[in-house]
Amino acid sequence: MALIRTVAAALRTALAWLLPPLFGLAALVGVWALIAAGSSNLPSPGKTFASAVEVFAHPFYDQGPNDQGIGWNLLKSVGRVAEGFGLAALVGIPLGFLLGRYALLNRAVSPIISLLRPVSPLAWLPIGLAVFQKANPAAIFVIFICSIWPMIINTALGVSSVPQDYLNVARVLRLSEWKVLTRILLPASIPYVLSGAKLALGIAWLAIVASEMLTGGVGIGFWLWDEWNSLNMEHILIAILVIGVVGLLIEHGMTLIAKRYDYRQS
């Protein structure tokens, strides 16, 4: 009896947890079906689903540079984001440390950051193309430039908001600048650096789709644009869904990592 009651209770909690999102999704599909019924351009959910089964049946086919499976396109986009973001972290984190540690430098550089940060990522694309003369490095450059600002700003904030108490400990111990960096500033600012990384990756994923639409090649953004050129609306909807899911996974992954390394909650 007791076992049955426990199982029933667990089921009830699971249902209570699952039902609202399921209901929301069902409502979305319902609205979509209604609009699709009255429109000649928007494919219905059923048609899109059938198309998706086809697309995902062979995600990794390869028939030349302009006709590859959705899996390759996605991997290519994720790879570009990883490269651009990696470079941004490599430059942005040390720079953020310097800015957070030396107020004078911060005052010299922060007007530049404030000026460049609000610039749309795509505005940098022509500069990337002009400098690198190739689409792929230009797209990576766009990712780099749009994800470096949150990295710099958050790291600098983390370093400059290290509690004075910790720094007083360092002063009483007369720790060397290197020890202060590795033993105090670095661990104390990790939560800030990681939340900067999360922001940066979010922006990077937004930017890669847009820049691939313009640069072409292989990538989910280009795939989407290619499908628009061949007026395959089902594939466009699939692309939107896939882009959303990958963005969601990146966000959740970063949240998990940030939680893991946040000393404030053990």
Partner: protein
């Protein structure tokens, strides 16, 4: 060595938006080697400022601090501080926090094994061996403060500076920690300067109690020698006329001569 540690005509001022604010004026204090001195006064009277001056965390506008015949110049491990809010690094374990200090002070001269021994000895001293691998957010406030004391003692400082170390603790924990501190002090004979606003704590622990007037321009109002035999037992002292006399003396100073400044607390 009656003036092992000497605060010499120290005046401390801060530049604020409203101009120069003299927090502490003309403080003179001599502390003998092995002596336990408490500085007591109302909140905001500048007692912590004096402690920070001795620590070297702030500079005097005039005058200075001399330790063992040498004028101090900035903070140093020879003047270890037990901070009011323990200031343990949250990403290090109990051992890691103590080790950071021990490594800095003895790393150049001692072997790794010896450094480890020192850390464990200090942690043993405050009775926390069972929590050696815990992080600060996994232990209680009283335990954190013990780690702060262990960290400071492990550095074998010339002077131990304590800034209201038990202020944030509940009465029972505070009493236990005061007893351990007295016992440790009995064994190690450290020179201690402690800031407190607790009259009982000052009388129980100290050889002398320094009473500070209220700021701005706070200074030493009165110094009281506590001639009570050691080891001291808090329960027995409660019925001791001399103990109650000292308490009354300090209370009189704090409540009659020096009303709390407006806006303090």
């Amino acid at each position: 060595m009656s003036n092992y540690l000497q605060v010499d005509h120290a005046t401390i001022a801060f530049d604020t938006r409203k101009g120069r604010y003299v927090a502490v004026q003309n403080v003179n204090l001599q502390v003998a080697r092995g002596e336990f001195v408490a500085i007591i006064g109302h909140s905001g009277c500048g007692k912590s400022t004096v402690l920070n001056l001795i620590a070297g965390l702030i500079e005097a506008a005039q005058g200075g601090v001399i330790l063992n015949g040498r004028q101090i110049d900035g903070p140093s491990p020879e003047r270890a501080v037990v901070f009011q809010n323990h200031s343990l690094l949250p990403w290090l374990t109990v051992y890691g926090n103590v080790h950071l200090a021990v490594e800095r002070v003895f790393g150049a001269t001692d072997s790794k094994a010896r450094l480890r021994e020192r850390c464990i000895a200090a942690i043993e001293l405050v009775g926390l061996v069972h929590a050696i691998d815990k992080r600060p957010n996994e232990i209680s406030g009283g335990m954190k403060q013990r780690v702060g004391i262990a960290r400071a003692l492990a550095m074998e400082p010339k002077v131990l500076l304590m800034d209201e170390p038990f202020g944030a603790l509940d009465a029972l924990t505070r009493a236990t920690l005061q007893d351990s501190l007295m016992e440790i002090q009995q064994r190690l004979q450290n020179t201690v300067v402690m800031v407190t606003h607790d009259v009982d704590e000052a009388v129980l622990l100290s050889d002398r109690v320094v009473m500070m007037s209220n700021g701005p321009a706070a200074t030493i109002g009165q110094i009281l020698s506590i001639d009570l035999p050691r080891p001291r037992q808090r329960v027995e002292l409660a019925d001791e006329p001399a103990y109650n006399h000292y308490r009354a003396e300090i209370l009189r100073f704090l409540h009659q001569g020096q009303r709390a400044p407006v806006g303090a607390h």
